[in-house]
Symmetry: C2
């Protein structure tokens, strides 16, 4: 099985093979990837489709002197296997050593850390320009997928690539799929190019001023070697459009492209019963049935937000996937709301960063009554590129937005229904991960800025965001046990404004306020409370994340690192009470 792969520890080893050996090597790599990813989980489909291209690129180009820049970089597994990291895919004991994305900290063959889409061409433009300014000579190659092409940054990059005026090769990996099926006007044009073997005059890339080559046999390593040899050292920008098969070599993955885009580890079990995703689907379905203007919108990443293929199909015209285009997503729902519809934009926290300006301008300034549901916010065991810890910064500081943070199922459902029905304001709802049912609801639609007092006490008040309410109660229990004082516990249900009457009331009978925030503290919620009380005798202690990039840290580790434990909270409170 590892006739060739065993001997390859770097692209230099690869280049010693005859071309005739490369398809055998591709089979070995593909088999290893299937065996590995089936067990460990990870990005399956795009990696299986990209094996031959990764081999051909390293075979023809003189990496790492020639610079290979991956878009998203979730398709870089074969690249990693060829650049000294194959043990991660051959021996599950080593799997965790390397991330699922490119990372210069791992290898000189990785030029950037990447995880969001559509940035590779822009980065490559910069690398090419730097090369030219420094008088160097090497190839700069960007690998861009057809899913990423719907992101505006990719278009900005291609538009600028066309005027680079020197060597720049864009390998456009067209596997006819984004994470989910592609949506948008460009995809008919790509299909026409595939149908006509690249001959159609209707050519987006040429229309943008770029030279162009088409390779139908994108999983034929010999064909790829040939075309890369032809374009190597080219003196101007060119797009090499290759047609590949997502999931190639694994029948199930070829058939079920969306499910096989990213697969779970074998040991993983789907959460049973209700989730916030299933609750959202159920509520949306009910609202849609009652009102044809209720419409769910997603930007090319339906998985994390629970928009299953079945649900999307059932929604019919009341669901729109705008492609990987978060800027458009927020502007689109702003237009929907202004036009009288009731849009709900479901988005992962990490990707909402792309819409910051649109949240300010199109949504906030225009006060369009759209609902934004933010999933994946908080501390997760995930790559630094996909951290969901900045959403409070991204939304809570924008004028005009009402930002809600439910803790329980009951609060979430009432907030969502209220938000869809109301016509006055844009609303952001931070969806918790952990489903808690309280049997009651602290959210009052008549007073959307009001917080919910869960326990009334004195001396110490704990303000919690979302699911940290559990920790707040535990800390209060411990405080009672150790200090014989009943602490006040408050759910801060709205993090875009203060419940000022409540805060002023607390100041009368409390000396210490603690804030609990599942996100980074900088620019977040706790700091605002600290500012509010800054002029008073009330001392404030904020718990939350540091301003740092953390890579694949287990959720319970986060709690330790950031002192999210009842013991830490109570000990700190006692110290502060003693004036230390």
């Amino acid at each position: 099985m590892t006739e060739y792969l065993a001997g390859i520890n770097s692209p230099e080893d690869l280049r010693k093979l005859p071309v005739s050996a490369l398809s055998g090597l591709a089979s070995e790599i593909r088999s290893a990837l299937i065996a590995c990813v089936t067990q460990t989980g990870g990005h399956m489909g795009s990696n299986l489709g990209f094996v031959e291209c990764a081999i051909a690129l390293h075979y023809v180009f003189n990496t790492p002197e020639d610079k290979l820049i991956f878009d998203v970089s979730h398709q870089s597994y074969a690249h990693k296997m060829l650049t000294g990291r194959k043990r991660a895919y051959l021996d599950s004991a080593h799997y965790g050593e390397f991330s699922g994305f490119t990372n210069p900290g791992e290898s000189e063959f990785d030029i950037f850390r990447a995880g969001h889409t559509s940035q590779a061409v822009s980065l490559a433009c910069g690398m090419a320009k730097a090369r030219d300014l420094l008088g160097l000579r090497h190839n700069v190659i960007a690998v861009l997928g057809d899913g990423s092409l719907s992101g505006g940054e990719a278009f900005e990059g291609l538009d600028n690539a066309a005027v680079v005026g020197s060597n720049l090769i864009v390998v456009f990996n067209d596997n006819e799929m984004s994470i989910a099926p592609n949506s948008g006007g460009i995809y008919d044009g790509l299909a026409e190019l595939r149908r006509t073997n690249g001959e159609s005059s209707n050519n987006l890339f040429r229309a943008m001023g770029l030279d162009y080559r088409y390779v139908e046999a994108g999983n034929d390593v010999q064909a790829l070697v040939n075309v890369f040899r032809e374009v190597k050292d080219i003196d101007h920008p060119i797009v090499v459009h290759i047609h590949t098969l997502k999931g190639k070599g694994l029948a199930w993955a070829e058939e079920h492209k969306e499910e096989a885009h990213s697969v779970h580890a074998q040991s993983w079990h789907a959460p049973e019963g209700e989730t916030f995703q299933s609750l959202t689907r159920d509520l949306l379905a009910r609202k849609m049935a009652a009102d044809p203007s209720v419409v769910a919108v997603n930007a090319g990443a339906p998985g994390g937000v629970g928009l299953t293929p079945e649900f999307r199909a059932a929604c019919g015209k009341q669901f729109v996937d705008v492609g990987i285009a978060e800027q458009h997503g927020v502007a689109f729902v702003s237009g929907l709301a202004r036009g009288g519809a009731k849009p709900v934009f479901l988005v992962m926290a990490t990707f909402l960063q792309r819409s910051f300006d649109q949240l300010i301008q199109e949504l906030g300034l225009n006060r369009c009554p759209a609902t934004i549901l933010v999933f994946g916010a908080g501390f997760y065991d995930i790559d630094a590129t996909h951290a969901g810890t900045t959403d409070i910064v991204t939304t809570g500081n924008v004028p005009g937005l009402t930002c809600l943070a439910p803790a329980t199922k009951e609060e979430y459902l009432r907030m969502l229904e209220w938000s869809i029905d109301q016509r006055e304001r844009p609303v952001v709802i931070r969806v918790p991960e952990l489903l808690i049912s309280a049997g009651s609801c602290g959210f009052d639609p008549e007073r959307p800025s009001a917080w919910h007092v869960v326990r009334k006490g004195r001396q110490l008040a704990i303000l919690s965001i979302g699911a940290t309410i559990d920790l707040a109660c535990q800390a209060a229990d411990l405080f009672r046990e150790r200090d014989s004082v009943e602490a006040t516990v408050v759910e801060a249900l709205n993090y875009s404004s203060f419940d000022e009457p409540l805060l002023d009331q607390l100041a009368k009978s409390h000396d210490l306020v603690v804030t609990l925030e599942p996100g980074i503290l900088c620019g977040g919620f706790g700091e605002k409370v600290a500012r509010y009380y800054g002029k008073t005798h009330v001392r404030v202690n904020c718990y939350g994340g540091k301003k740092e990039f953390l890579d694949r840290v287990p959720a319970d580790e986060f709690l330790k690192i950031y002192h999210f434990t009842p013991e830490d909270i109570v000990r700190d409170a006692e110290e502060m009470a003693r004036g230390e």
Copy 2:
């Protein structure tokens, strides 16, 4: 002169005119605009070129039932004159009544407030979809300029427009210019379409799946009326590409398109002598001459950042205008830095919002040693769409960025030179507006996180950002006068991190810390100081802007509204000292 215009108070009046009268009306409007804008200042070139189109749109379409959505909306003056607001352009006494952009608060003919670019098609997609869901029938028309087309959001919008499946008309107003000359691969394609009367098979819009019409005579109102009549009530999306002349009717504006894009009021005088813009040019020129890898980058808005046509020409290959594409801009300089060059991205604070995700991912996470110079940050007499008050949120909360806020010329120059030369980290420099020369420099390149103690005192410490150092000193003077105590004054030269030793030192001899911040408080600098001191006895009072949209508020009004006066600061400090 006002044979027709005098009788027009709404599009209904316009529609009563025979088509033959429209070119006369256009002349009247154009003359009025020239007379007005020459005096008052405003957007000249694009408005003069769009007069006939505005007339034809309102003549043919049934506004406001048909929805007309302007991109940027700086070209909406003729539209405003036709929709009940002509007095602003005929009588300078009324000029200030209306903003220079569309605003639903002014008129039912304005659908959105807009000011940043490239959003109109996305908003129109939403309006069209809402119409369809609600079972309504009206036209939705987006007006997009060729300059805006380089922004990724426009591409995302067009890609999605192509699959709207019902009426959506994009009027593509091609005047061959952005604010500055266009740059990017798409512009050769547009030129080819103009040369071939729209017949070239190389057609970006068709390649994106959109129907297409070309109108060479974009300033011939009869031709426009004809084409709009043909596309009115169309059952699918279409792009109507019209070729107009920027600055039409004013010889100087036709000749000097960049200068005439936006002109100053007659009463305005250019600042004499040095400005931060001129200092930046001089330093960049010197660094570029010494090192061919130093490169200045701008995203289609060179005016506010001082990149004059002469300077750009002199830079040669060491200047790149990426078009209106801020996402690409930040990714591009990240690539340049990673490739070994020394890039400086000059950008207006308000537009940097577009790059939030790229600041986090491409720049911060990758620690690319690029320099970002932020101009126009702070409180200005400007439209709410262009407020520069969010830059500290946009940059100061991003892990990995070193964010500097110089107060003086000397500090700025030392910071900029240090930043260009160093290779360790991305640096953001917030360029002050008001040039202060202190003759000395508080910034120490060996300690880029250190703050500068300007005066040592006790009891009260005032921490200032940028040019608020003057106010800090005035407040300290007043405090000495009234309370006989010497206050400490500190320039917080770095707003991305704390000078912790200094803060801890201050806590020993000060009870009160005041922060002065020319930006919104939410998510800003002062809140972080409040959090830092939250656990201690030190009280903190933060001065800065509220989280709100303010429209064209004079700078000195801001200072009053937000209590940026020595009297306010000292009075508040005295009250706090008394424990009130």
